[in-house]
């Protein structure tokens, strides 16, 4: 690979910055007032926020101690997302603010004596530099040659900027690396997606079926709270997972499925439910189309058939199908969230959607509720001009169902030989660490080599920042205003985020960054308010409240306009699909050349001596963004590789022994990782928690700790329907000695 752009350690800035950083951290460590038993909470100031440690966006309060330093964060009782209880990551959000490794100043890549290094720059200079490059690219290739990768609540500002600039190439990893297949599958079936927070009525369900979804490790707050309520009520939980997950440990039935075979199980459940007449006949007759074709389709998919594929006993499949039927319609076959597994994911989730339709759970108590939405007034800004060239032109004919830009496809298109359309020459990367988020790292690095501009907006010196031309330090969510949170839920509601402290160092809020940049690009009219809070106040007044009021309450919940959380007994629901009905058989898919009814196709199996790499979440971390957080690293500072005792025996592996993992394409982990010998994982797979194995040295707590799953995901099983990146088709083996340096990155 010709290296036009090399990875720069931000440490190159010199020792002074680091020393100052650790000094700050130490000061932060003992912000303690030693607790004097019996003393009343001092009169503390609290400010509202909503959490940015993950995308559940719980609303809460930030407390300061008498010295005025941020002390703790707790949930807002009024908030439906959290009911006054934050998850460990949200509670540990303070560490994000106190992390001494934070980015401090804008940085610009320069050549010094033939070596690429960063130098610190003023905001004005850095933004001038970015604007100049953007204009250059636009005049040379067109504004569409700028792509935006963004994630989280700061996205709105950057999206506005890039749209105003004239590009529609805007991608979020929450689509093609996460929920995309689910949204498209439910959309194809019910004409509607399941949103975030999911409209799953776990609280009231009588039977909760989890396909993978490892709630309890996946700490999406509302889900775990409601699952716990369900456990209290004695709800039947059925968990399908090749690993004995925490949720499996709470379940009445655990189905230890052979990975990659879920579709066979789902089809055989469908068979059982149809041929035993377990399905909700009235509901199906009234609302669904394509039942007969479905019935015919699943005729042969008996539990015995599925047994041969999934290794699950037919009896267990039958019993669990009956459990679902008994609970119907208060049964919830959870749609999952991170579902980009094997490349046939949209079809797998279609099977889940169909199962829910048969059981009559969509729109019913204990199944899926109807969300209440709230819309905010939007300021009067010039209309975005339609980009001359679209994202689809970059991969003509591919992923016809994709309703959002496909991040990985944008990355592929940045490599000229893959790109039949127009060139992509500039990336703005906001709040997403592409090198840990997008599989096939070598491919991403290759794409980066073709860029004229890479701007990384981040709070931390994450891997992506090392490849940037310009690094812009955003302040954390605890130090800024942001767009109001409006998310669908049982009741309509809004939540405010406001700064609890001044931005540290020279970091700035996203709104400020985008607005300043817009000025330099001549697009200031898209940011009519000088400050984010002015915009918020304007919006809030339109919504019948005000910034002042929201500062006191943090959250405002409205009543539903109608009492329509669930379908009424004899409601004539018209579904927003082509047919107006729930489409068990998808004519839409058929037209596009995809299976109109989901089919099971076998997946490749691990070769001799290799094991399928599966991954998931640890409850105390969010991806890689928290692994350097002092409070959360304290709970878990590295991941380990789960190995079944039989496999461990074969390899002579012991718990805590260090190994390197190597995949089928000879990709090797950057660092050794500890073995955890445990019965909780199948013998054909190994498991690691995503988000570890950071290679950025500036991350003083996370550097070199554990292994990165992304490093080992070089084979990507792309979903032809919507472009999702199936990441569980990789097989790894163990290296017990440090591998030679010949393995290229």
């Amino acid at each position: 690979m010709t290296s036009r752009r090399e990875f720069i350690k931000i440490t190159a800035l010199g020792v002074g910055a680091i020393a100052a950083g650790t000094g700050m951290y130490k000061a932060g460590r003992f912000f303690a007032l030693p607790d004097k038993p019996g003393k009343v909470d001092p009169d503390l100031t609290r400010t509202p926020t909503y959490c940015e440690v993950c995308f559940w966006k719980c609303a809460g309060w930030v407390y300061k101690n008498p010295e005025g330093r941020i002390w703790k964060i707790t949930g807002n009782e009024e908030d439906q997302h959290c009911n006054g209880r934050f998850c460990p990551r949200g509670t540990g959000g303070v560490g994000m603010y106190y992390d001494g490794d934070r980015l401090k100043n804008p940085l610009i890549r320069v050549e010094e004596r033939g070596k690429q290094v960063f130098r610190e720059a003023s905001w004005d200079e850095a933004l001038e530099h970015v604007a100049g490059k953007m204009k250059n690219i636009a005049s040379k290739y067109g504004p569409e040659s700028i792509a935006l990768f963004t994630h989280g609540s700061g996205s709105a500002n950057f999206t506005t900027l890039v749209k105003a600039f004239g590009s529609g190439n805007i991608a979020e990893p929450s689509y093609a690396q996460c929920r995309g297949p689910r949204d498209e599958a439910f959309f194809a079936t019910f004409g509607e997606e399941v949103y975030s927070p999911e409209v799953t009525d776990i609280r009231d369900t009588k039977c909760l079926v989890l396909i993978g979804s490892h709630i309890g490790e996946n700490m999406h707050n509302g889900q775990i709270q409601e699952m716990s309520d369900a456990i209290d009520k004695g709800t039947t939980i059925i968990t399908v997972d090749p690993r004995f997950s925490t949720a499996a440990g709470k379940s009445k039935y655990w189905l230890p499925i052979k990975p990659s075979t879920d579709l066979a199980l789902l089809l055989s459940w469908t068979h059982e439910i149809i041929y035993n007449e377990y399905y909700d006949r009235k509901y199906v007759e009234k609302y669904c189309t394509g039942f007969d074709k479905l019935k015919e389709h699943v005729k042969d998919f008996t539990p015995e058939w599925a047994y041969g594929i999934t290794t699950l006993k037919p009896d267990l499949i039958r019993k669990t199908a009956r459990e679902m039927a008994n609970a119907s319609p208060a049964v919830l076959v959870h749609p999952g969230r991170h579902v980009t597994w094997y490349g046939d994911d949209t079809q797998r989730i279609r099977a889940i959607a169909i199962l829910n339709a048969l059981l009559g759970s969509w729109g019913r108590r204990g199944g899926f509720y109807r969300p209440a939405k709230f819309s905010l007034a939007q300021p009067d800004i010039p209309k975005f001009s339609e980009p001359a060239r679209l994202a689809q032109d970059l991969f003509p004919g591919k992923y016809p169902v994709a309703s959002s830009a496909v991040s990985n496809a944008l990355i592929d298109a940045t490599i000229p030989e893959n790109n039949p359309g127009y060139p992509i020459k500039g990336w703005i990367v906001n709040a997403t660490n592409l090198l840990s988020t997008i599989p096939n790292i070598p491919n991403t690095l290759k794409a980066i080599q073709n860029l004229d501009l890479l701007v990384a907006v981040d709070t931390m010196p994450m891997e992506i920042t090392g490849w940037a031309d310009v690094v812009l330090p955003e302040c954390t969510y605890l130090e800024r205003y942001d767009a109001l949170r409006v998310a669908p839920h049982r009741k309509p509601a809004i939540a405010l985020r406001m700064p609890a402290a001044e931005p540290m160092n020279n970091s700035k809020p996203g709104y400020w960054i985008t607005r300043e940049l817009s000025k330099k690009l001549g697009l200031a009219s898209y940011f009519p308010f000088e400050k984010q809070e002015d915009l918020l106040d304007w919006q809030l007044k339109k919504a019948g409240t005000s910034l002042e009021e929201m500062k006191k309450s943090g959250v405002k919940t409205f009543e539903r306009e109608q009492d329509d959380l669930y379908f009424a007994e004899d409601e004539n629901v018209v579904f927003p699909t082509d047919s107006g009905k729930i489409e068990l058989y998808s004519g839409y898919f058929e037209q596009l050349g995809f299976d109109p009814l989901p089919k099971y196709y076998p997946h490749e199996e691990p070769p001799e001596g290799f094991y399928r790499l599966i991954y998931g979440r640890a409850p105390m971390h969010t991806f890689g963004r928290t692994t350097n957080n002092p409070n959360l690293a304290d709970l878990m500072d590295e991941n380990c590789v789960w190995v079944n005792p039989k496999v461990a025996n074969e390899w002579g592996l012991k718990t805590d022994q260090l190994v390197w993992l190597k995949n089928q394409d000879d990709a090797v982990t950057d660092f050794p990782v500890k073995v955890r010998v445990t019965e909780r994982i199948r013998w054909d797979s190994v498991y690691i928690v995503h988000g570890f194995g950071h290679t950025g040295k500036q991350l003083s707590r996370a550097y070199g700790k554990g292994a990165s799953d992304t490093r080992l995901i070089t084979r990507v099983l792309v979903d032809p329907v919507m472009g999702g990146t199936g990441m569980r088709g990789n097989f790894v083996t163990f290296l017990t000695r440090e591998p030679g340096k010949e393995v290229a990155s």
């Binding site: 460590r29 209880r85 934050f86 998850c87 004995f244 230890p256 105390m620 409070n631 445990t678």
Partner: protein, 177 residues
């Protein structure tokens, strides 16, 4: 008044939120903890069982840590809560050695620290920080002498155990099983 806590092992998911919440609420320095989470698993694939416990000082009714403290810094406070008076503690470590649960640790400032049942909160009618934050609501707290307290009610309803009963400490931290 006898304060007690019960943790539902059937609901606890081991997320460790109770640990972070305690750390921030009580300014426990990073690198130390007043509570912690233990997960035990037994069986072989796929016949497995798991138990998850959020643990902390048991506020033992028969507390060896109080008995062995040479200065009286460790003492029984109102409601049977066991506290350490910081300005009476010499940091001898006897109480740390005496606790079968390893519930105490030497604070970097010299004195010995441990779970206080968040006295500063409960005296103001607020639940302990760990109980208040737990996303699975699996920590119950209250007065055993009050039959209607959360903890009394749940202990009436459910089977429970204590840890190392053979140590004879009479713990006030119960685990619902």
């Amino acid at each position: 008044m006898r304060y007690a806590m019960a943790v539902d092992t059937k609901k606890c998911v081991g997320c460790s939120d109770c640990v972070v919440a305690c750390q921030t609420e009580n300014n426990v320095p990073i690198g130390f903890c007043r509570d912690w989470v233990v997960e035990t698993m037994a069986g072989s694939y796929p016949q497995l069982e798991i138990e998850i416990r959020s643990e902390r000082c048991n506020h033992c009714a028969n507390a060896p840590c109080v008995r062995c403290c040479p200065t009286g810094a460790s003492h029984f406070d109102t409601g049977g809560i066991i506290l350490v008076k910081q300005n009476k503690c010499i940091g001898c470590g006897a109480c740390i050695a005496s606790c079968p649960y390893d519930a105490r640790y030497p604070h970097p400032d010299g004195y010995v620290d441990k779970c206080t049942f968040c006295v500063q909160r409960i005296r103001n009618g607020m639940p302990p920080a760990c109980a208040a934050v737990c996303p699975t609501k699996c920590i119950y707290f209250g007065d055993l002498d009050d039959p209607n307290s959360d903890v009394s009610l749940v202990l009436k309803k459910r089977k429970f155990k204590t840890l190392i009963p053979e140590a004879g400490t009479d713990p006030k931290l119960y685990f619902l099983i």
